[in-house]
Symmetry: C2
Subunit: 414 residues, 2 copies
């Protein structure tokens, strides 16, 4: 008898009808002989509704109170799903984060799981019950309710799988798996049957919204085999696991994109060792995530620094730098919004030095202007104008041989 952790997101439990479907699926897994621990998100638009209530009271609602408020969403889901399972004749046990022993640090709104005491869950499993745990939430050592922030429910699922030494963690979502590119943009994108943790991490970080990077990181650290599959369609999903089990010949596994990119250029910073440290420390203090960084010489005594941020953080980032003009000593700030990032990802890339050249050539042949470049062992990213992103994704998808053949597409679509 195995142990499986299954996670169902907000769309999968978006209505009572869907909750009943989810219950049927869980019951089927149980019938196949596995023990099942389930984690769920809040129903569809619940979180938005709660956020709107809070914003009627405060322009900047306090994070601790937000956590108390938002965690009710998943609590509703576990109650309803447990009812649906009982209705289907399966004994279940609903647990909030604190009941499931999910201990986090005290950073309200984006807490990290510190440990999970498996005792309460194991007790229910021993009674032959299915355990349903509220995703996205935990409790601090002080007994305060916390939330894990973005991607929280995926992280809950993986952390539970790790703590319970589960055989696998199944992430049910509204797509059928991880694709070589976003099928809405690249119609010839195909579903991957396997992808390595490292590749998935790059894809996730690069905006392939199927899995949150935190959950992939956690799965990689604890070697929890993940499978991403559809809540709605009965179909094999994509396995995310150790690279060694995979064919290495494919040098690029997928093309990812991110449509919300802005670039800030800080011109004429004094060319001293501490300049960059100061600049990026100020941004980190303001909780601004900087993505790509490029430096170049301005003149003999000064340098220019360009970096990319999420478009939402463009204004605060500029503000922070302006506020510290005195201390930083730069001459000018330039910024540009309306950008996107396209990336080629693949573990085989490091042994195929031609990939970067191929990427730049195909983009410039297609008339796409590359504004920034960043590379790692398993990916190459280019910042380009947003309106050219779709074209760029399709171009790279074809150039790197990822396009699904017409015949295969016809089968997938039938």
């Amino acid at each position: 008898m195995g142990l499986v952790v299954q996670k169902f997101g907000g769309t999968s439990v978006g209505s009572v009808e869907r909750i009943k479907k989810v219950a049927e699926r869980i019951a089927r897994t149980r019938e196949e002989g596995d023990q099942v621990v389930v984690t769920v998100s809040a129903m569809g638009k619940t979180t938005d509704r709660l956020v709107a209530l809070a914003e009627e009271i405060s322009d900047d609602p306090p994070r601790r109170e937000m956590d108390v408020l938002l965690t009710t969403g998943e609590q509703v889901s576990i109650a309803l799903l447990s009812m649906a399972l009982l209705e289907a004749g399966v004994e279940a046990c609903p647990m909030t984060g604190w009941q499931a022993g999910i201990r986090t640090n005290e950073v309200h709104g984006s807490a990290r799981i510190e440990q999970i005491d498996p005792t309460p869950i194991l007790k229910c499993l021993d009674r032959g019950e299915i355990v349903i745990v509220a995703g996205f939430q935990g409790v601090s050592e002080e007994g305060e309710i916390t939330t894990l922030g973005r991607g929280g429910s995926d992280t809950t699922a993986v952390a539970l799988a790790a703590a319970l030494k589960a055989d696998r963690c199944e992430i049910y979502t509204d797509v059928t798996g991880v694709f070589t590119a976003d099928p809405r943009i690249a119609p010839k994108a195909g579903k991957l049957s396997e992808i390595s943790f490292e590749e998935m991490l790059e894809m996730a970080n690069l905006g392939a919204g199927v899995l949150h990077p935190r959950s992939v990181e956690c799965a990689m650290t604890h070697q929890v085999p993940l499978v991403v599959r559809s809540s709605f369609v009965e179909e094999e999903g994509t396995w995310v696991k150790e690279a060694d089990s995979m064919e290495e010949e494919l040098n690029v596994r997928g093309v990812a994109h991110d449509l919300d990119v802005a670039r800030i250029k800080v011109l004429g910073l004094p060319n001293r060792t501490e300049t960059l440290t100061r600049l990026f420390q100020k941004l980190a203090d303001a909780r601004i995530n900087v993505d790509m960084i490029v430096t170049s010489e301005h003149d003999d005594e000064r340098i220019d620094v360009a970096f990319s941020v999420h478009e939402q953080e463009w204004e605060p980032a500029g503000q922070v730098i302006e506020n510290h003009q005195q201390e930083l000593g730069h001459l000018k700030i330039l910024s540009e919004t309306g950008l996107a990032k396209v990336s080629a990802v693949g573990a085989g890339m490091v042994t195929h030095p031609g990939v970067a050249a191929k990427m730049f050539t195909s983009l410039s042949d297609a008339g796409i202007r590359i504004k920034m470049v960043s590379t790692s062992e398993i990916k190459i990213s280019c910042v380009i104008p947003r309106e050219q992103a779709g074209k760029a994704v399709r171009e790279l998808h074809t150039v790197f041989g990822l396009d699904v053949k017409e015949s295969a597409l016809a089968t997938a679509g039938s």
Copy 2:
């Protein structure tokens, strides 16, 4: 510096606007120098909405899951109220039932509070914060979420006041206090400035919906002075406290009524000692609350029993008796719905033997048919046809000298 527990019901926190008003009121109490612990219900129609969700899944939703579901309602309220207080510049600390140390037994849906560990609340009070506790909920020794059932939030407030040895417990509601009768039915009803625990208990049990009897019982046991007042109007409320501080000359303090009464007559039960025990044990097993009981002789060997129940319980009660016809040995069941109960309540009554006679005379003079009577030391109740209830309440209100003088009414209405 005193310690005050304040309770705000569902109507008082029915919208964001109202929550802000409640926050202002709490802040005022704080400014007057008292420490404040607040308990709140779920916002307006939240509970109904959650119940409807559950009923879409199951015709008879499991009670444990219902508790997990319904407790989210108060959790939303504590979060929003705490935000509103912080917005008003007052430090507050929201606590769910389990966080506030409210330990109950394990009867899901109608749990009783067994003990309250005051440590977490005192810790917040010591930091100068206002503590906001979710009403209606607690946690069992096993760590399961429980709810207290009807009147739960009032009970939470009183139990907190008792555990914290508060100076008083203020129940804020949508009326300005306890009246000598329901002002919607008896326009000359006046607000009482004081009422004893015992009288309030009778009034509460008799359908004066201001306070739930459980909370009054708890206040009486722990000698917690209660005051009932309006969330919306700035006006002195009604104090509920020990009788010794009150004028004893008023023999009837109020007239209560209950519009949902049904009567069941069980005819020709064998006249044996165990007959009544059996009959009422069967009803108790089916969780049916029997109110008034009258027995009379049927013939030498048989008796008739009539009893009243809440109109909603008329059908299940009849069913239970029919199902046990063999064992009970009765000849026939008769039932009547569409009844009401009117009651005169007052601690002075026991020393004024004329009250019952006065009540019967005035009702029959007004052409009202009395179908059942029951008396206690501080009340007399009559079951009458429902359509005559308004007339009966007004009649008794006048006969017992409770009518407010025209001049006083004019003032109250201004």
